[in-house]
């Protein structure tokens, strides 16, 4: 697995700089909008891009085929990519926490606990979605996975947007969140993060099974 971690890290480094620049630029935009949640959504989008980035070198040069001709097992190839995704998620989380602290210190958004809870919740969502994208990419290839994923992600977003524009009475969940204490919200977000991690691991196992059947 060390060999694949080395290779995947080299692949990720290629785009890491661009992703960090995007993060910095959009953080500045978030500062002007005084909206920290914008950053959290950004971390989800960046995490989703990682699986496709990691599989990007192959179609053009047959890297996967070549690496499988060496003493590298298919399980290692998959778990290495999941490990890189998790590492990237960790880096984004640290950066987002620093931004959240800065927002609180400079008075841009003082609801620190609620924001951290939101961040953890988004990281759980991000890990789940990156696991889904990894699975789709292995099963259908980068291009098809990209289209399928857009359909999977945008459908609930569009439905939610339409519902939000309708004049509906507030649902019980919204009232519950508004009445919950900071500890309860933080606890729920930690649970969401743990669930995200577990689902990511589950998708990892599914991806290994798919990858073992693949032919090159």
């Amino acid at each position: 697995m060390k060999a694949m971690l080395y290779a995947d890290w080299a692949v990720l480094k290629q785009t890491m700089r661009q992703m960090l620049i995007v993060f910095i630029v959009l953080t500045l935009a978030a500062v002007t909008m005084e909206s920290i949640s914008f950053i959290y959504m950004l971390t989800i989008m960046l995490m989703i891009m990682v699986p496709m980035t990691l599989f990007a070198p192959d179609p053009t040069v047959g890297w996967e085929r070549y690496s499988l001709s060496m003493p590298v097992c298919r399980k290692d190839i998959v778990w290495s990519k999941f490990a890189m995704s998790a590492l990237f998620a960790g880096v984004l989380t640290v950066l987002a926490v620093l931004v959240t602290i800065a927002f609180a210190v400079f008075g841009l958004d003082k609801d620190f606990v609620f924001n951290i809870a939101g961040l953890l919740f988004c990281q759980g969502i991000g890990l789940l979605l990156s696991g889904v994208v990894m699975c789709m990419t292995v099963r259908w290839g980068t291009e098809k996975a990209r289209y399928l994923f857009m359909a999977v992600v945008w459908t609930p977003i569009l439905i939610g947007f339409v519902i939000s524009k309708m004049d509906l009475p507030e649902i019980a969940l919204v009232e519950t969140i508004q009445q919950a204490s900071d500890i309860q919200i933080l606890g729920a977000s930690v649970i969401a993060l743990v669930v995200g991690v577990l689902l990511d691991l589950m998708f990892g196992a599914i991806t290994v099974r798919i990858y073992k059947k693949k032919e090159f």
């Binding site: 060999a3 040069v61 890297w63 001709s69 060496m70 003493p71 097992c73 032919e215």
Partner: protein, 281 residues
């Protein structure tokens, strides 16, 4: 003599093509040339050896080890050069070394850098900036730098100019100086096999037509140019394949079964391949 590679009853079916009951062996210390027209099944056979696809039937052993049950141990013994497989384009040779040293237990960094120096490959230049010849040399350097005992080469000289092809064949010669080393080489360039191969396996439409020592093949067969009537008069067992034209006939014949005095010309691997592919068998 132990076989470096043994394939028995290998079969793999696709919608438009099937590899059927492919069997051959590469003895230790020998070069096996794997020939066949485009789409014959050469690359499919190599992919089956490397477990890049799941075979429907058959067994494959490398130095007595099953390629599925002992996959990792088998791949430690094999150096691979693929026509359509290479390092990521943004890799440098130094990064290729970094990867290979973590993939192979017996990776020899010094040997790798000696090959790079010999080939004039810069260690910090990205592979996307290499010429085709340099990329192939990098793959060959990687294949030769972990003390492999068997080289599996899929079109290693394809697209290379004659000078580079000659350099590459010299490398394989050096590799073969050790009696424990063997080579399986799939190629369309049969003139390379005329220089280097000990055995020839010919795959046609997914089946092995023959797998024989090259010298025996070239001594056994010859080309007879005659009239159609003369061809008809020959013992059918003497004729392996034939082609008839408006002005006569050509046949790939077994020398020993042709009547004395009939002019049988010497043959090369390419001619054998053409007769077996295009001729009437």
């Amino acid at each position: 003599m132990e076989n470096a590679l043994e394939i028995q009853g290998l079969s793999k079916k696709y919608a438009q093509f099937a590899l059927q009951d492919v069997s051959f062996a590469v003895p230790c210390g020998c070069v096996m040339g794997l020939i066949g027209e485009n789409g014959a099944g050469k690359t499919t056979t190599i992919k089956a050896i490397l477990n890049l696809l799941h075979r429907d039937a058959g067994e494959i052993h490398v130095f007595g080890m099953d390629t599925i049950a002992e996959e990792r141990a088998v791949k430690e013994q094999i150096g691979v050069v693929l026509e359509d497989g290479n390092f990521p384009q943004f890799f440098t040779a130094a990064q290729a070394d970094g990867f290979m040293s973590r993939a192979y237990k017996n990776w020899d960094k010094d040997a790798f850098y000696r090959y790079l120096s010999r080939f004039g490959i810069e260690t910090n230049k990205k592979i996307k900036d290499y010429s085709k010849g340099m990329r192939m040399k990098l793959s060959i350097a990687a294949a030769l730098s972990h003390h492999a005992r068997l080289l599996i080469l899929d079109e290693p000289t394809s697209g290379l100019d004659p000078v580079v092809r000659d350099e590459v064949l010299d490398l394989f010669w050096e590799f073969l100086q050790d009696d424990d080393h063997s080579v399986l080489m799939s190629t369309h360039i049969t003139s390379d096999l005329d220089k280097i191969a000990d055995y020839i396996t010919f795959i046609h439409e997914g089946r092995v037509l023959f797998s024989e020592p090259r010298d025996e093949l070239l001594e056994t067969y010859g080309v007879l140019k005659c009239t159609s009537a003369q061809l008809d008069a020959l013992d059918p067992k003497a004729v392996r394949a034939s082609r008839r034209g408006a002005f006569g006939a050509e046949a790939l014949v077994r020398r020993g079964m042709v009547p004395q005095g009939w002019p049988v010309e010497s043959v090369n691997i390419e001619q054998i391949m053409l007769f077996c592919t295009k001729g009437e068998n």
